[in-house]
């Protein structure tokens, strides 16, 4: 074995390996993009669900009016009569990203519409997220693990659910920003380079722009820093990775209008400042330790500790006083419900009413991360062999995200990248061990035949090749970064590599067992792929504004929502106000271009409660509430005819609860018969006379003669009734959306004029007070 030949061969191998991994990465990007196109192929290129419609509308405004008008945008189309300052209350990252993509394409004379750009933003950023995962995992455990993790992330169902084409929501870009911030943190930690530290602060800024979940980063990184300090892993690299991030990151975060001074004022950020102080103390201690003799150092420690304790107590006392003075202890409602999972259901029905804020069930774990749930423990074990700064970070990441995902279904999204990274590590290590033991026992087998053996199924190609390649390039890979780092690490890594080489000899499994294990792992991977494709195609691709059903005579399309919104858009006055439950607020403003009373940005509980109260009041009281809000049309969603389960009758109890939370005359028990929610003949009279019931079931009995509700699977309680204060102006083809108009107050005026005639001398003040009595909601 001549040394020159060997180095030549290894060089070719390195080049071949990096070209191969580049191609694999490109393929992973293509996979991540194309698996999210099921929604476009099966349905159409359209914005999905609720929040994306708001983001789409904001993007339209941005592209039309420019960035300065965007910051100053006061939206009078929503929360009538309050309005909403969009520029100051929205996370602008997603909008600015899509806006700049659109601007770039248009300056190249590629005339894509804003809608198209918005629809495809999420798949593009999923590909970016997969590449960021590769980088992060590569920093932790090498290229093989990186490629495996990237491939897993490209198709993890949890992430697909939030980033299919058309799902134009903050999370789509935020997950990329999250992973990339973590990557740059680990990269800085591994290299100690200020360049990466600065980049890290900038990506953190992008993350702050994109999603409220940035608080996860600004709490997780301090936790990791603290962990490193406690376990005696403090180094100057850690300092460089952390201190610039806090300083620059906080300054940059304060630039985002929606965050502003929250970046230093709220409790979510206190951990980072505390750790910032601690790391400086530790750094100082290390410095002093270096310049003082051990004896002097001991003296200094006792002095500093005694003085320091007094100062600390004072500071902590001030802080506690400050925090305690605010009603929520400085925490926002959503964060509090993270720390105390029962908080929301106890105090904030509006947060609890959102299905994605509920705790997940076990099947949803299997649905969303599938086999990764079983691979994660193996990955954690692999992270401890050997434990480095980077791998301890990944372990911390998975542990915290598992907790958060257990509190809120939505945060499953944060768990997914961690699960992918750890499963990638686990799979890669397993293949590493298994292929090595095969290779060890079949010395005659050359590398070529190994690659041939890898070409069994498409899914196994990636993973097996990765494994084989990492195996081959193990030494070079381990050596290359070490060359760049300082001597200490070099020695350390070399030591570990020698150690691991020795270990490799020892870790040999029987041939049959390893072949069987490889086969099983490939099977597991294949199962994961099949599940992901199924989830992407069937479970998560429905845009929810257009529904389809398969019946014996083919595909049936329910396009009622857009029918109603288009009707509102073209056949009502531009300034008409439309009242509906808040779920449909964003869609109404975006698709119908009409002013709404409440929308999905649930910032004003009282306003939502007012609408909830109106919906649960009898017709006349409801008319008065709506009239006081200048409402002209009331929109209800009704699924009873076609069996669409998420309609307003099923959401009605939340309206009662939220309304009752502010206006105590609405009491939930009035709507329940023996604790049961029902709309049949056993229902309470309050229920059968409330506005929501009447608007939903008005003339419903005439469709089939019995009034059979297909969602509740029962005949409705009150079948024949008339509306006195509302008139039906539009009902969609499948009755899914019904729009009513408030009748003009004709009768009331006549009564009043009579009164005023009879009491000619009545003063204006008494009249006014009479009015006020009538309408307590003004």
């Amino acid at each position: 074995m001549a040394a020159s030949e060997d180095s030549n061969e290894s060089k070719i191998r390195t080049v071949f390996g990096s070209v191969l991994s580049l191609f694999i990465l490109i393929l992973i990007g293509v996979l991540a993009f194309s698996i999210r196109l099921f929604s476009v192929i099966k349905y159409e290129s359209v914005i999905h669900e609720f929040d994306p419609y708001f983001n789409y509308r904001v993007t339209q405004f941005l592209t039309k009016n420019g960035i300065y008008d965007f910051w100053n945008w006061f939206d009078d189309r929503t929360w009538y009569p309050l309005g909403r300052v969009i520029g100051g209350t929205v996370y602008p990252g997603l909008t600015l990203t899509a806006g700049s993509i659109w601007w770039l394409l248009n300056s190249l004379n590629i005339p894509l519409s804003v809608e198209t750009v918005c629809v495809f933003t999420a798949p593009i950023f999923s590909a970016n997220a997969a590449w960021a995962t590769y980088l992060l995992t590569k920093e932790v455990k090498g290229t093989g693990a990186g490629l495996t993790a990237a491939a897993l992330l490209a198709m993890v169902p949890s992430y697909i659910s939030r980033s299919v084409a058309g799902s134009y929501d903050n999370e789509a870009v935020a997950i990329f920003a999250l992973i990339f911030t973590f990557y740059l943190y680990i990269k800085t930690l591994n290299t100690g380079s200020l360049f990466y530290a600065t980049l890290n602060a900038i990506t953190y800024f992008y993350m702050v722009c994109s999603w409220g979940g940035y608080t996860f980063i600004i709490n997780l990184i301090p936790m990791h820093v603290l962990l490193c300090i406690v376990t005696g892993r403090y180094s100057s690299r850690l300092y460089i990775a952390y201190a610039p991030l806090v300083v620059l990151g906080t300054l940059l975060a304060a630039l985002v209008p929606v965050v502003g001074f929250n970046a230093v004022m709220t409790s979510e950020h206190f951990a980072s400042f505390l750790v910032f102080i601690i790391i400086h103390v530790v750094a100082l201690v290390y410095y002093i330790k270096g310049i003082l003799s051990p004896k002097m150092f001991k003296v200094a420690v006792t002095l500093v500790v005694s003085v320091g304790l007094v100062v600390c107590c004072a500071v902590v006392a001030v802080l506690i006083a400050l925090v305690a003075s605010s009603p929520t202890k400085g925490w926002s409602g959503r964060s509090l419900s993270l720390l105390d999972p029962t908080y929301a259901s106890k105090y904030i029905p509006i947060i609890a009413s959102v299905s994605e804020h509920q705790p997940p069930t076990w099947p949803s774990y299997f649905m969303d991360i599938n086999v990764l749930a079983f691979l994660v423990p193996a990955g954690i074990v692999a992270c401890f062999l050997p434990l480095s700064d980077a791998s301890s970070f990944v372990v911390l990441y998975i542990v915290t995200s598992v907790y958060f995902s257990g509190v809120m279904v939505r945060l499953m999204l944060v768990l997914a990248p961690a699960a992918c990274i750890l499963s990638g590590i686990a799979l890669s290590e397993a293949f590493d061990v298994l292929t090595r033991s095969i290779k060890f026992q079949l010395p005659g087998l050359s590398e070529n035949s190994q690659i041939d053996a890898g070409d069994t199924t498409s899914s196994s190609v990636v993973t097996q090749n990765d494994a084989a390649k990492t195996n081959k390039n193990e030494d070079t890979l381990k050596e290359r970064p070490s060359r760049k780092t300082r001597k200490k690490e070099k020695e350390h890594v070399e030591k570990t590599s020698i150690k691991s080489q020795i270990k490799k000899r020892l870790l040999v499994l029987p041939l049959e067992a390893s072949i069987a294990a490889i086969f099983l792992l490939v099977l597991l991977g294949a199962f994961y792929v099949v599940h992901c494709v199924w989830a992407a195609a069937e479970a998560y691709s429905a845009p929810s504004i257009v529904l389809t059903s398969h019946s014996h005579d083919g595909l049936h399309v329910f396009d009622d929502f857009r029918e109603a919104y288009a009707w509102l858009r073209h056949n009502t006055e531009v300034d008409d106000k439309v009242a509906s439950w808040w779920d449909y607020g964003y869609q109404t403003t975006a698709m119908a271009n009409r002013t709404v009373i409440v929308d999905n940005n649930t910032w004003n509980n009282t306003h939502i409660a007012t609408v909830g109260t109106a919906m649960s009041s009898p017709e006349k009281a409801a008319w008065e509430i709506f009239n006081s809000l200048d409402v002209k049309y009331v929109l209800v969603v009704f699924g009873g005819l076609v069996g669409y389960p998420s309609d307003d009758i099923n959401k009605f109890l939340w309206m009662v609860r939220i309304g009752g939370g502010v206006f105590p005359h609405i009491r939930e028990p009035d709507y329940l018969r023996d604790g049961q929610y029902r709309i049949d003949s056993q229902a309470t009279p309050t229920m059968l006379n409330c506005l929501m019931y009447k608007l939903s079931y008005f003339r419903f009995v005439e469709t089939d003669g019995k009034g059979f509700d297909r969602v509740r699977r029962t005949e409705i309680g009150k079948k024949y009734f008339k509306l006195t204060h509302f008139e039906e102006v539009f009902t969609t083809h499948h009755w899914m959306v019904r729009i009513y108009k408030l009748k003009p107050p004709k009768n009331r005026i006549r009564v009043k004029t009579k009164k005023s005639k009879s009491k000619a001398s009545s003063t204006t003040s008494s009249k006014r007070s009479g009015k006020r009595k009538k309408n307590p909601w003004q």
């Binding site: 159409e44 359209v46 190249l108 004379n109 590629i110 005339p111 504004i545 257009v546 399309v557 396009d559 857009r562 029918e563 919104y565 288009a566 009707w567 858009r569 073209h570 056949n571 698709m591 003339r699 005439e702 469709t703 008139e727 039906e728 102006v729 539009f730 009902t731 969609t732 083809h733 009755w735």
Partner: protein, 466 residues
């Protein structure tokens, strides 16, 4: 402005010339021996067929025959066509004649004229039979103006029982065809006969010039009053083999406005009496061999449409998102591609020309304002449009995929367009096929320079410390 002025001057001069020519054979010398008018009120596009037998009783030959219209009708006049009948009975053929708006110095009550130029002047004592066809739009006035869902739509039609003409008419009859037998009321100008779907006014004898006898007919008309307020058709030519057409519609039901409630249960369970004047289907006639058809609006695809294709035509049946009642509006976009070779030809002098249909592809609709934009490929020069009727035209520049100099757009605008305007027009232009390669070349060079830059970057050492 200047062009308009010049046009006006030219018009005035031509009128003067005409007058001097006609000075002797003024209108009094011509007379109409027999006139028959058939007014078809079955749809909201009113078609009038007028047969005139014109005699020259004066001394000098007449080369022009004037048609008179009351000012209220002129604004709604979409098409006026005239043809001379040649031959007798079975060998009868029609020769199309030129019809131009003209002005007369002493027109009573703002009467507007169209002059029909005869192929050869009408000599003394000769007679000619003219077939005149004209179309009126927006001339049915709904009354009551607002109707509820269960009512049917009644409209007024106003006209004159006696044909307005600058010439004396010896004998005339007017037949008016209504869509149904239900006629609420009509003005009687004896003799008037109402039988079935037809109203007959006349015959009236020896009416002097400019006789006028206003009539109002109030009748039921439940045909869809589909009016496209604005239609923009974009025809984009790509020499790579396809023509892409995008049509933006603003559709409105121009009949009696819907008032009060719209009850879906009544609409669905009693279709014969509920919402009879509303419509939910529209048929669009597209060219044959059409491909990649889409039908959508600003909030996405509209899933209710059917495409039927055969070798001669394609029919796209579209349903707006909701049935259109009186006064309701809808906007949508129809887009499709057609093969290039069906519509683009090379003329004998080497120029290319596009031969395409002008009007709106929707059946039985009036377009208030039609804009046709022909987007020529990048690098085409000297565009000129040939349209068989007067239109406003100007040029624009648009930028599409990776354009550098922009594409020339020929914009043709016309108001009050009816299905009779769906006739071919041509746009001629010069095009050098080398321009087709510009964009692929640009892309190739961008990638080339990108890879060159990569190679260069890999071979340059930028580090300060050696």
């Amino acid at each position: 402005m200047a062009a308009q002025l010049r046009f006006r001057l030219a018009l005035v001069f031509s009128v003067f010339a005409l007058l001097s020519l006609l000075a002797r054979s003024s209108s009094q010398d011509l007379q109409i021996a027999n006139a028959e008018r058939r007014i078809d009120l079955t749809s909201h596009i009113i078609k009038v067929f007028l047969t005139l037998k014109v005699e020259n009783t004066g001394a000098s030959p007449a080369s022009e025959i004037l048609l008179a219209f009351p000012p209220t009708q002129v604004d709604h006049l979409a098409v006026v066509k005239a043809a001379a009948t040649v031959g007798k009975r079975k060998k009868k053929t029609y020769q199309p004649l030129d019809v131009n708006p003209s002005e007369q110095p002493d027109s009573p009550n703002g009467t507007k004229y169209f002059s029909v130029s005869l192929l050869k002047p009408l000599g003394k004592g000769e007679s000619v039979t003219l077939e005149v066809f004209y179309i009126l739009t927006h001339s049915l006035e709904p009354f009551p103006v607002e109707i509820s869902q269960s009512e049917s739509q009644l409209v007024y039609y106003r006209d004159s029982a006696i044909i307005l003409s600058p010439y004396a008419i010896k004998q005339q009859t007017t037949y008016i065809k209504t869509p149904g037998t239900k006629v609420e009321s009509y003005t009687r100008v004896d003799p008037t006969i109402h039988a079935g779907k037809e109203l007959k006014y006349g015959p009236y004898d020896e009416q002097p010039p400019y006789s006028y006898s206003p009539i109002v007919i109030h009748f039921e008309n439940n045909n869809p009053f589909a009016v496209v307020e604005e239609l923009v058709r974009e025809v984009e030519i790509s020499h790579w083999g396809s023509i892409q057409i995008t049509e933006h519609y603003k559709l409105v039901h121009a009949g009696a406005r819907h008032k009060g409630i719209f009850s879906r249960v009544e609409y669905q369970s009693r279709p014969s009496i509920s919402g009879v004047s509303s419509f939910k289907h529209i048929l669009a006639r597209l060219p044959p061999r059409v491909h990649s058809v889409y039908y959508r609006d600003e909030i996405g695809n509209i899933s209710s449409s059917h495409l039927r294709m055969d070798s001669r035509k394609s029919e796209l049946e579209i349903e707006p998102r909701y049935p259109l009642f009186g006064g309701w509006k809808a906007t949508f976009v129809i887009g499709y591609g057609v093969p290039l070779e069906d519509f683009l030809f090379e003329s004998s002098d080497g120029r290319r020309y596009l031969n395409f249909t002008f009007g709106c592809p929707l059946v039985e609709t009036v377009v208030d304002k039609l804009t046709v934009k022909v987007v020529l490929p990048e690098g085409s020069k000297e565009p000129s449009a040939v349209v068989p009727f007067p239109v406003d035209q100007h040029l624009e520049t648009s930028y599409s995929y990776l354009d550098v100099v922009g594409r020339t757009v020929v914009v043709l605008e016309k108001k009050n367009v009816v299905p009779e305007h769906s006739i071919p027009f041509q746009v001629y232009y010069n095009f050098n096929p080398i321009f087709m390669l510009a964009e692929p070349f640009m892309l190739a060079s961008v990638f080339f320079f990108f890879f060159m830059a990569c190679v260069a970057y890999l071979h340059i050492d930028l580090s300060i410390r050696k």
